[in-house]
C-alpha cells in the first residue's frame, strides 16, 4: 500500500525544505497550505524532479471548517500516513498591547489549536505497520519568555511541552514525537530583514533551512525528542538554562526591541510565518 508523509505549511520556506528533504528520500507526500496555486507548483516540481507521488489539498488551518474539509478529504481517500510534519505557524511581531483581537485569536488558532487537532485526527490515519513519526516545529524562542514576541514564544513553549509529553503517551503506540527548535532562518525577504536587524547575534544563530530540515528528519528517524540545529544555538539554549528566566527575558527583550526598531522603523508589524 502507498503511504505518505503529511506536511502542513508546505509552501513556506521551511515547509518547502522539509518537502524537498522527504522527496529526496523517496517518500510520497501529502502537502497542505493556504494557496492552491503554490501547492500545485510545488507538487509539480517535486514530482518531476524526484519521481515521487505528491497529493495536495488547500486548507486555512486557522479555520475549523476548512480543517474539517481537509480531514474529510484525507480520510475519504483513505490516505495512509508514515509521518506528520506540523510546520504551519505564525508570528505577529511587536508589543502585545498593540495587537488586535483578531491577531490574538489567529495566532492561538494556528500555533496551538490547529496543531493539536491535526495531530489528533491524523494519528488515526497512521500506517500501523511502521513507526509513525511526528515532527512539531517550535522555536528557539520556546526556551525563554520573550518580550515583543510574548504570545509567539509562549505558544511555542506550549508546543514544546506538549510534544515532550505526547511523546511519552504515544510510545506504546509505536509513534515518536520530535520537536524542532530552530533559531530564525532566512526564508524570505522579510525574515532576512529581521535577522539582519539583529546584527551579529542574529547571524551566528542562523542556519539555512535545508540543513535544518535534513537534521530534523535524521533526529526524528533516530527517535530524538528535541532537535536544536547548530552548535551556537545549543550553547545559547544551555546558557539560557543557567540564568533565571526573568533575567534572560530582560536581556532578550532589550535585544529584540532594538532589532524590532531597526527592522520595522515605525511600520506596521508584518506578519511573519514560520515556514
Amino acid at each position: 500500500m502507498q503511504s505518505f508523509v503529511c506536511i502542513t505549511g508546505a509552501t513556506g520556506g521551511l515547509g518547502k525544505a522539509f518537502a524537498v528533504e522527504c522527496a529526496n528520500r523517496g517518500w510520497n507526500l501529502f502537502i497542505t497550505d493556504i494557496s492552491e496555486p503554490a501547492l500545485v507548483r510545488l507538487a509539480d516540481g517535486l514530482q518531476t524532479a524526484y519521481g515521487i507521488k505528491v497529493l495536495y489539498f488547500p486548507c486555512d488551518l486557522t479555520d475549523a471548517d476548512s480543517r474539517a474539509r481537509l480531514i474529510e478529504e484525507m480520510s475519504g481517500r483513505k490516505i495512509c500516513l508514515d509521518g506528520l510534519i506540523n510546520v504551519a505557524g505564525l508570528d505577529f511581531e511587536g508589543d502585545f498591547f498593540d495587537r488586535t483581537k483578531e491577531q490574538i485569536r489567529t495566532l492561538i488558532r494556528l500555533n496551538v489549536e490547529a496543531n493539536l487537532e491535526i495531530t489528533h485526527e491524523l494519528l488515526k490515519l497512521r500506517n500501523s505497520e511502521k513507526t509513525f513519526r511526528i515532527i512539531n516545529v517550535a522555536s528557539l524562542a520556546a526556551f525563554y519568555p520573550m518580550p515583543v514576541k510574548a504570545m509567539y514564544s509562549a505558544s511555542k513553549r506550549f508546543l514544546l511541552n506538549f510534544s515532550i509529553a505526547l511523546r511519552e503517551e504515544l510510545r506504546p503506540m509505536n509513534c515518536t514525537v520530535t520537536v524542532l527548535c530552530p533559531a530564525g532562518m532566512p526564508t524570505n525577504e522579510k525574515c532576512i530583514r529581521s535577522i539582519d536587524a539583529q546584527g551579529f547575534a542574529g547571524r551566528i544563530t542562523t542556519k539555512n533551512v535545508g540543513y535544518v530540515a535534513a537534521c530534523t528528519i535524521d533526529a526524528s528517524l533516530k527517535g530524538k525528542t528535541v532537535c536544536i540545529p547548530g552548535l551556537t544555538n545549543k550553547i545559547v539554549r544551555f546558557a539560557g538554562s543557567l540564568v533565571p528566566s526573568s533575567l534572560v527575558s530582560q536581556l532578550i527583550g532589550a535585544r529584540w526591541k532594538e532589532a524590532h526598531r531597526k527592522s520595522f522603523q515605525g511600520n506596521k508589524p508584518v506578519l511573519r510565518t514560520d515556514n
Binding site: E21, L42, T187, I192
Partner: protein
C-alpha cells in the same frame, strides 16, 4: 578584422536586461539596430530601460517581457511570449539568446518548485529557456546561445550528493557551482547539437564588473565586501561590448572555442571539460525541468 555578421538583421533575446551587464548589452545591441527582446523581473525597471534606450535612439526596436526566472513555470510562459513577440518581425526566428540574468543569495532560498534560488536562476532557467527557444534558434542562419558565466567557475566542482546544497549551503560555493554549470551546459549543448548544427553555444566571462549583483541577496559583511570590491570592477559597458563583438565576429558553426573573455578564447577549468560531469549535470537538469532534449 571585418565583421562577419550584421547585427541590424538580428532578433536578440537578453535576459536580466534591466541592470548591469544585461542592460548595457541590450542598449548597445538596440543602438546597432537589432530587434532586442529584453527580459526583466520588475515592471518599473523594464519601462525605465525601454525609456532610456528610446530616448537615446527613438528608432530603437526594443521590447521587454517580465518573468521571474526563479520560477520554471514562468520560464515556460516566457518562452511562449518571446515566440509571439519575435513573430512581429514576420519571421519565426531568434538569432541570439544571451542568458545573462544571474542572482546571488547569502541564504538558502527555496523557489516555488522547491529548488534553490541561485541554482534555478543561474543554471536551470537558462537550460530550460534555451530548450524552449531552440526551434526558433534553428531558423537562424547562425544561431548563438551566449551564457554569461564567470571566472568563479575555476577551482570548484559540482556537489553531486547535494546539488542544491541543501545541507551545507555556502553562498559563494553555491554561486561558483552555478557558473561552472554554465560552462558544462555550454560544452554539452555543443556536443549534442553536433558539428554541423547552425547553432553554437558560448560561455562568456565578463571579468570583475561594477554592478549591484552582490548587493541584492546579501546583508551585513558580504554586502559590505561587495560594495568595496565592485568599485574595482570594469564598467558594464565593457563586457557588453565584448558580447556584441562575440555576436558580430565569432564564426558559427566553425568555432570550436567555448569560453570567451575579453574578445579572446580562454581555456575553461579542467573540471568544466569533463564529459562525464557534463552529461550527468545535463540529465539532472532535464529531470528537474521535466524536459527531454533531442528525443526523436
Amino acid at each position: 578584422m571585418s565583421r562577419k555578421y550584421n547585427i541590424s538583421d538580428m532578433t536578440i533575446v537578453v535576459t536580466g536586461a534591466t541592470s548591469g551587464i544585461g542592460f548595457a548589452a541590450a542598449r548597445q545591441l538596440a543602438l546597432k539596430g537589432a530587434f532586442v527582446i529584453g527580459v526583466g523581473r520588475n515592471e518599473e525597471k523594464c519601462s525605465e530601460a525601454i525609456q532610456k534606450i528610446s530616448e537615446e535612439s527613438p528608432g530603437a526596436r526594443i521590447r521587454y517581457i517580465m518573468a521571474d526566472l526563479s520560477s520554471l513555470r514562468q520560464v515556460r510562459d516566457l518562452s511562449a511570449r518571446i515566440r509571439s513577440v519575435a513573430a512581429e518581425t514576420g519571421n519565426d526566428r531568434i538569432d541570439v539568446l544571451v542568458n545573462n540574468a544571474g542572482a546571488f543569495s547569502n541564504w538558502y532560498i527555496s523557489t516555488e518548485e522547491g529548488f534553490e534560488l541561485q541554482f534555478t536562476v543561474n543554471h536551470l532557467a537558462p537550460f530550460l529557456l534555451t530548450h524552449e527557444l531552440l526551434p526558433l534558434l534553428k531558423n537562424s542562419e547562425a544561431g548563438k546561445v551566449i551564457t554569461v558565466s564567470s571566472g568563479s567557475h575555476y577551482r570548484t566542482r559540482i556537489r553531486w550528493n547535494d546539488i542544491l546544497m541543501r545541507k551545507r549551503y555556502n553562498c559563494l560555493l553555491a554561486y561558483k557551482q552555478t557558473k561552472l554549470a554554465n560552462v558544462l551546459f555550454t560544452t554539452e549543448l555543443n556536443r549534442r547539437l553536433g558539428p554541423s548544427s547552425n547553432i553554437r553555444a558560448f560561455a562568456f566571462d565578463p571579468g570583475l564588473v561594477n554592478t549591484d549583483i552582490g548587493l541584492k541577496g546579501t546583508a551585513g559583511i558580504a554586502k559590505w565586501i561587495w560594495q568595496l570590491r565592485k568599485n574595482k570592477g570594469r564598467s558594464p559597458d565593457i563586457p557588453a561590448s565584448e558580447i556584441v563583438w562575440l555576436i558580430e565576429n565569432v564564426d558559427t558553426p566553425q568555432s570550436n572555442e567555448v569560453y570567451w573573455k575579453g574578445c579572446e578564447p580562454k581555456a575553461p577549468s579542467r573540471y568544466s571539460r569533463r564529459e562525464d560531469a557534463a552529461v550527468r549535470l545535463w540529465e539532472i537538469s532535464e529531470k528537474m525541468c521535466g524536459v527531454k532534449w533531442f528525443s526523436g
